[in-house]
Point group: C2
Chain length 347, copies 2
DNA sequence: CTGAAAGCGCTAACAG
DNA sequence: CTGTTAGCGCTTTCAG
């Protein structure tokens, strides 16, 4: 006996539960499997039969149950997505690119936000895997051993996104943050600046910003320059933090810098605001450079010199590779998306 | 005979498929249902038995299959979330609040982005429902008849978010956008301004902005003032659009306005940049007001006069009410989250 | 082109 | 406290 209100008559259940494939089949006068094939447009079904089934489905307001379908062997159309944050527009952009591409193929992201917490990331991964997704897209904060183990044992396509500097178990799509920092160093040095400072945010959590800093340092070294003051303020990057941070950096600096590289555009825009308020001429008194290529930086009275990080594109490419793999293809293991230095008016 | 490679020996399957509850049970020397109870901490299980099961689960690297669990009757822990956009930080903030609250209770959002397209919204709704989520959170663009029908027939808790001006079938959490526009009208009128203009973005897609405009108009009328020029530019709101838009508005205006109300902060920040570039003194020559309370507006040299829209809070409250309902509670049908007018230095 | 049988991995109900 | 039985709604395999 079924375990809901002792009824095994489908007509009764129609009142309380969603219609099932079996009901659609009966209404169309065919077997369950034929209805299934008709609705999925899989296998040979007579045109007429299919029409009948489809009409029955619409009449009953049938919504397939993909839990049952996936359990029975159909490929899941869910993709687990783990991001470190949503406070930053950067990850919202990536998610947009992801969702857009996935939805085109009828896939949907199940979302988890790790807040840059490796343990939360680990738990999230376990939770998402319990839904048996078709694949995984993850912007790792810091992978624990358990995380690595889960990923390795999961036996599904995994795309790690944002950077291509770290090791990845399966596929990776992103830019080289070290390379971006280095490119900015060469650009600024080429513009004639020689005394540099760096202003960053909570570095313990954002290792990609750290990679840019190291790339910047290395790039300067290559042209025989040493990076001067480095100030990293706790907390996430914000415009106010950049504004206050630059004031503090300039106040504390032993030798005043000619140019400041910021951990990202939010911080750099804050810096631009400080200069404006303090009457510092940009770029003559002080040059400013950011990272990300946010529209806000480009809309400043003096467009910000920065690097476009192609966020939405990264999400799009990650999804494309995942879908390709699911379709039996063999996409590249590492996709180094080009960044683009945007010469603005601030450096 | 099982339909994968003709094996019905679990030990073989361990190589190719994920371990199942049955394997955990066998390893612990108990029945499946006992293992199930032990891992879910449901029903009476001897302490010792539970320990054995848990050790076995860890040893086998067991990850439960929630598709099977949910199909068998356990409550789903997925929540369908439909948002109109992710380009705008506003919805990323809401999503953050949602995810944060949901994850605390072990729930995860399945995401769909409608791009303000009613038909895409409809398809999305159908897709998400096919995963049999425990509930739904939706920021509707424009509901079609089908959408209404699906929602009504879905028989699950639904929270409509962002605004409380429209009709909702089940629960609603948001602010009154009409009220916000009205509040800004009263505030600006109280500051002595009398000649007003409005600058907006693609109004056809964003009906909440339209509600603010109508509220603004109504508020002005209440104090005996008529709204002057209204300029709505196609496309999504961006800083550059606000900048160019204000230039155009001022050029075309018959009588120059004393104050401009923008559709949101992005647009208003653009307006502030235009004033700065064009040498227009703010607020003496021209007062500016936005909506949302974004940090960028507050970090401007002159903080923007605006209205905080409590986005993350809306997401958090929506999730809280959903969870409450799922737990058998009876949260309010309409939750009018207070907005907060932030008097800045621009009006 | 259509169908019957079997089973995906799990949990609710009912017995011991 | 533990187990047996049945079945969630669907798709696979194999047989017409």
């Amino acid at each position: 006996m079924p375990h809901f209100h002792g009824m095994d008559d489908d007509r009764q259940d129609t009142q309380t539960r969603r219609p099932t494939l079996s009901q659609v089949a009966r209404a169309a006068g065919v077997s369950e499997i034929t209805a299934s094939r008709a609705l999925r447009r899989d296998g040979p079904v007579a045109r007429d039969t299919r029409d009948r089934v489809e009409r029955a489905a619409i009449a009953l307001n049938y919504v397939p149950n993909r839990l049952a379908g996936t359990l029975a062997g159909a490929a899941s159309r869910q993709v687990g997505v783990i991001l470190p944050s949503l406070s930053n527009i950067v990850f919202a952009d990536v998610l947009k690119g992801l969702e857009d591409r996935l939805e085109g193929d009828g896939y949907h992201p199940i979302l988890g936000i790790s807040n840059y917490d490796p343990l939360r990331e680990e738990r999230l991964l376990r939770d998402l895997l319990s839904w048996r997704p078709a694949g995984l897209v993850i912007a790792p904060a810091r992978k624990t051993e358990v995380t690595r183990g889960l990923l390795a044992a999961a036996d599904l396509p995994v795309v790690e996104i944002m950077d291509v500097d770290a090791e990845s178990a399966d596929m990776a799509v992103g830019i080289s943050h070290h390379g971006a920092g280095r490119a900015m160093a060469h650009y600024l040095a080429g513009r004639g600046y020689r005394r540099f400072a760096y202003l960053g945010h909570g570095i313990e959590t954002d290792f990609r910003a750290t990679q840019r800093l190291e790339g910047f340092r290395d790039g300067l070294r290559e042209v025989g320059v040493t990076l001067g003051d480095v100030l990293c303020l706790p907390g996430p990057s914000t415009v106010p933090l950049g504004r206050e941070g630059l004031a503090r950096l300039l106040a504390e600096a032993e030798t005043p810098p000619e140019a400041v590289f910021f951990s990202n555009d939010d911080m750099a825009v804050g810096g631009a605001f400080h200069c404006q308020a303090a009457g510092i001429a940009v770029p003559d008194d002080l040059a400013l450079a950011g990272f990300n290529g946010l529209s806000i930086g480009q809309a400043l009275p003096k467009p910000l010199t920065t690097i476009a990080s192609q966020r939405e594109h990264i999400g799009f490419v990650a999804a494309t590779h995942l879908l390709d793999r699911l379709a039996g293809g063999n996409p590249p293991r590492v996709t180094n998306v080009d960044f683009r230095l945007i010469p603005g008016a601030t450096a």
